[in-house]
């Protein structure tokens, strides 16, 4: 697979804290998930890759363009779709007008072609029914889809999505997954999320960040494998476990280093993620 | 304050949803929170700092020497302008805080919270109270600082001091009312500008109308100089009552607009309206006949209300609030007299304090010079340049015989007058600068006395400046030796320069015949 986005040694500090600390990564076509706790630097990484913030140090390239030069940055932006964490809207615009506005900002000037494209995108995100309605009259899920449409318009080669499924109901989330999976066909998508199911279902690669550093890079199966042999069930809370909770069956599901002869369970992606983070913080503490 | 009573009474009247104390406590907690939030607005924070810093700096810097001799019935009024800055910042920012939830679209969510909108309005009103209290503290420090100075004179008024904090409170409350009337961020700045313009318009157009002018929040009348406190004729107490009523009225308006149309709220509003109207009516009548008579007496026949004391050979008469000042006058007059020669050194002076009170505290009318021999006028201000002005007045009487004649001197005697006034000063050139209206030490200018002025030509200024640079005792001897010639109106400037041993001005403009200019 060809590498479409690559970065090396990205570092960015806000005051005394390093939001990004020597981040090196490569992205390929398809959906890459970005997991991490709050404050791990996910949004900062996305903003750097979206050319919204330059890094203090390090270099990266997107689709063969170097964003450190003005011309390169413009070229990146022409090929970029960005859905920020808190997308803002002009509340008096209709959904169509807003996406059309963003399309103009993406330098699509042929009116006919642009309107066709906006209609196509609104159709794709299932908003064609309400495209004439003002954004202030749309529901939260619909607004989120307007924001996704604004990111998708112009058929960008690199799509940066910052927690797009936050606040959506399960059905809307399913719909969103479908959209993102579609978008990932023939494109590079970087998806930041707190939902491990999203990653398990959508992504062909996953990155875990903590304290501004990459802690894991691999396939979802590899992340799940991090927890192989480290999840077990017991009748009582096991004090040795790093995390444990009572399940609906009445037994305890424990994650950590199991005692001898424990009743091992099949790990999930979430188990792998938790253990990766736990190992990372243990490493920092040590 | 009374606004808290509104909360408590309204809360009890409102029903048994929660025990009244707890409902009131919640409002107070929110008010505390909002007060803290207000401090995070840049305008409030910076103008609070500016107000405190500016006041502190003024207390420290002492002004131009007059700060050591404050007149308390003017100091109290002087505390009313400073809080304007803070008031405007509070108006705008309280307004922003009060429309915040509407702006951020959380009002639909807030609507289901147990604290009703009107109680939140009350909390916004109360959030201004700490700032008013802080203003009161600054005002109190400002006044106490002045009152504790050894040179302080006169009496302050509590009600004048209350106006500053009340204005701050009024501005904040107006911001809340505005938020309830026009729930938009850009209303407050525009209303401030519009209101400012209206106030300026009102100040211009209502110049004559006493009752209408006192409807403005702060009426700072500044005139030529301080008057005795009993002649001010300012309805300060009525005005404080009016402001208090207005604050409660505006607060009640905001509370009513946010939906608390209970009987208690309406009753409090009616009461506040009554208080406001009472205050407005009470302050409306202009100066009474008795006050006018007292002012006329103090202006025309001050001797009837003054008490006199004798220092050395001279008599010093002052209004009751300034009797402690006569020793300062005596010291200044003696310094001048010691430099004079001939009979002038032994002249019996009668120094009389004079005011022009007939036009009220804003009056700017000149006081006519006295005509009796040896009579000198003193003002109600003292310190810094006022001392020099007094010295020039004394010197002009010593040289010309009486005050009227002294004010008409325009020949070379000006040199003698100015040297007598300044010769004994430790830094005479700086004092010369202070004595002249345009703060210059070159060219022609006017030098003031308490009731008149002395016109100095460029040539006379030149000679005076040379004299002041020479060793004092040499000049004293020359002045005393040539006193008769120096005090003669016919002596030309060149001759005066020659007598005093300095270079005559080369411009040739001055030859004693300058009175026609």
């Amino acid at each position: 697979m060809t590498v479409t986005v690559s970065a090396s040694g990205l570092t960015l500090r806000y005051g005394g804290t390093a939001a990004l600390d020597e981040v090196t990564l490569r992205l390929t076509e398809g959906v890459t998930g970005l997991l991490g706790p709050n404050g791990a630097g996910k949004t900062t990484l996305l903003r750097v890759l979206a050319t919204a913030v330059p890094p203090d140090r390090g270099a990266f390239s997107v689709l063969g363009h170097d964003p450190s030069t003005t011309a390169g940055r413009q070229n990146v932006r022409r090929a970029l779709g960005y859905l920020p964490q808190n997308p803002g809207f002009h509340p008096d615009f209709t959904a169509f007008e807003f996406v059309d506005y963003v399309a103009i900002l993406k330098e699509m000037t042929d009116r006919g072609a642009r309107h066709r494209e906006v209609r196509r995108i609104l159709d794709a995100v299932d908003l064609s029914e309400v495209r004439g309605r003002r954004i202030k009259r749309l529901s939260g899920g619909m607004r989120q889809r307007v924001a996704l449409a604004a990111a998708l318009v112009g058929d960008p080669g690199f799509l940066v999505l910052d927690e797009p499924t936050v606040g959506l109901d399960p059905e809307q989330r399913m719909r969103f997954r479908e959209l993102i999976a579609q978008a990932g066909e023939g494109r590079t998508v970087l998806l930041s999320t707190h939902q491990t199911e999203d990653v398990a279902m959508l992504c062909h690669r996953v990155i875990v960040m903590a304290q501004g550093r990459l802690r894991f890079e691999g396939t979802p199966a590899e992340l799940t494998a991090q927890a192989a042999g480290r999840v077990w069930s017991s009748a009582e809370r096991d004090p040795a476990a790093r995390a444990g909770w009572r399940t609906g069956l009445g037994t305890f599901r424990n994650v950590g280093d199991p005692p001898e002869g424990a009743d091992l369970l099949e790990p999930t992606l979430e188990d792998g993620y938790l253990l990766t983070l736990d190992d990372a913080s243990a490493e920092v503490a040590a | 304050m009374s606004a808290i009573e509104v909360v408590e009474r309204a809360a009890t009247a409102d029903g048994p949803a929660a025990p009244a104390p707890r409902r009131a406590a919640a409002v107070l907690a929110l008010a505390r929170f909002e007060a803290r939030e207000l401090l995070r607005f840049v305008p409030v924070f910076s103008f609070l700092l500016l107000y405190i810093g500016y006041t502190a700096w003024q207390l420290y810097s002492e002004g131009d020497g007059m700060g050591a001799y404050p007149v308390l019935q003017d100091v109290d009024r002087g505390t009313q302008t400073g809080p304007v800055l803070l008031g405007i910042a509070l108006l705008v920012c309280v307004n922003r805080a009060a429309v915040r939830s509407r702006r951020n679209g959380t009002d639909r969510h807030d609507g289901i919270l147990p604290m009703e909108p009107w109680r939140r309005t009350v909390a916004h009103v109360l959030s201004v109270v700490p700032y008013a209290a802080l203003t009161a503290l600054v005002v109190a420090v400002e006044f106490t600082w002045a009152a504790l100075k050894p040179g302080a004179s006169g009496h302050g008024s509590f009600f004048e001091l209350a106006v500053g904090p009340l204005c701050v409170l009024l501005a904040g409350v107006a911001g809340v009312l505005l938020a309830r009337l026009i729930p938009s961020f850009f209303a407050a700045p525009l209303v401030v500008i519009g209101g400012y313009v209206l106030l300026v318009l009102a100040a211009v157009n209502l110049d004559g109308s006493h009752g209408a002018r006192w409807l403005l929040p702060a009426v700072t009348e500044a005139g030529a100089g301080p008057l005795p406190s009993d002649l001010l004729g300012r309805p300060a107490a009525w005005h404080a009552l009016y402001l208090t009523g207005l604050i409660i009225l505006v607060a009640c308006g905001a509370v009513l607009l946010s939906g608390a149309r209970t009987r208690t709220a309406l009753a409090v509003t009616a009461l506040a309206l009554a208080v406001t109207v009472t205050g407005a009516v009470g302050q409306a009548p202009g100066d009474s006949a008795a006050l006018k008579a007292a002012r006329a007496e103090a202006s025309v026949h001050p001797e009837r209300v003054q008490s006199c004391s004798v220092h050395g050979t001279s008599t010093y008469c002052a209004f009751p609030e300034w009797t402690g000042r006569t020793a300062d006058w005596a010291a200044a007059a003696d310094r001048v007299r010691r430099l004079a020669g001939g009979a002038a050194g032994g002249t019996r002076l009668t120094v009389r304090q004079r005011v022009e009170a007939r036009y009220g505290p804003e009056g700017d009318a000149a006081i006519a010079p006295l005509t009796g021999p040896g009579q000198v006028s003193a003002g109600t201000e003292w310190g810094g340049d006022r001392n020099v002005q007094f010295a020039v007045g004394v010197a002009s009487v010593l040289v010309a015989g009486d005050e009227r004649a002294g004010s008409e001197v325009c020949d070379a005697r000006v040199v003698t007058i100015m040297w007598l006034a300044l010769g004994a000063e430790p830094d005479p050139l700086a004092r010369l600068r202070g004595a002249r209206l345009d703060d210059s030490v070159e060219g022609d200018a006017i030098a003031l006395t308490p009731v008149a002025s002395v016109a100095m030509t460029a040539g006379q200024t030149d000679v005076v400046r040379q004299l002041l640079r020479q060793p004092r005792y040499g000049v004293i001897a020359k002045v005393k030796a040539h006193w008769t010639e120096l005090t003669s109106p016919r002596t030309p400037l060149a001759r005066v320069a020659q007598l005093l041993g300095v270079k005559a001005p080369t411009t040739g403009e001055d030859n004693g015949e300058t009175c026609d200019q």
């Binding site: 404050g39 630097g41 903003r47 803002g88 993406k106 | 840049v42 800055l85």
Partner: protein, 235 residues
């Protein structure tokens, strides 16, 4: 597959033409309209008052009208969608310039109307008052521009307007020393000097607007602590 690739590098004027309409709709028109309306009302006051118009009053009413217009312009760079439109090829300076190009003529028209509303015999020197108004407006724009560049907020206009109001009604009248006076009467000997200072202010303010026009490189917490949840560092 990529239907729009062919027009990826359009001519700039095509973008500008396409942008004008949506940008006109993103302008804070209520604020501008309210400001313009109040400004015209103030300038029209002398005609409503009986008696001969007072030149001093007219001068200050015009100044107040100019300040109102400036307060409206303080909202010009408010853009609730700024985070959504941060990394797009059409750069912020161009968008800002277009916003200015749309709003400034309207404001200028409004100002001309205000000037004409003041009775001719009491009208102060038009050039000088216009300089004052332009400098005030430029200060408002500089404030808004700097707020966008230095903070993360989407709508800094209200804060800028509040600050400008507080500064305008206090600093020139109460805090500036006499020799730096800005608000002088017609015929005052400091008139020329004061307008030199106004011109200086205008130049500085325009420079600030220009300097702050590009997309902020780094939104530091320069002015006030960032509200939780919107900080760019939290992921």
């Amino acid at each position: 597959m990529r239907p729009v690739t062919s027009e990826r590098r359009p001519k700039p004027y095509a973008v500008i033409r396409a942008l004008l309409r949506p940008l006109w709709r993103t302008l804070p028109r209520p604020a501008l309209a309210a400001a313009g309306g109040l400004g015209l009302l103030l300038a029209g006051l002398p005609r409503l008052l009986s008696g001969a118009p007072d030149p001093w009053l007219c001068l200050n009413l015009l100044r107040a009208a100019g300040l109102c217009l400036a307060l409206g312009l303080a909202f010009l760079f408010d853009d609730p969608a700024r985070h959504t439109t941060a990394p797009v090829p059409v750069r912020r300076p161009l968008r800002g310039a277009l916003r200015l190009a749309l709003a400034v003529p309207v404001a200028a028209l409004c100002w001309t109307a205000a000037l004409l509303l003041v009775p001719g015999q009491a009208r102060p020197p038009v050039g000088a008052v216009t300089l004052e108004a332009a400098a005030t407006a430029a200060l408002a724009l500089a404030g808004a521009s700097a707020a966008v560049r230095c903070t993360d907020g989407t709508r800094p206009g209200a804060a800028v307007a509040a600050g400008l109001t507080a500064v305008a009604v206090t600093v020139p009248t109460l805090l500036l020393p006499q020799r730096w006076a800005l608000l002088v009467a017609v015929g005052d000997q400091r008139w020329a000097d004061a307008h030199g200072r106004w011109a200086g202010l205008l130049v500085v303010a325009v420079a600030v607007v220009a300097l702050c026009a590009p997309e902020p490189l780094r939104r530091g917490s320069v002015l006030r602590p960032r509200p939780r949840g919107t900080a760019p560092t939290t992921a």
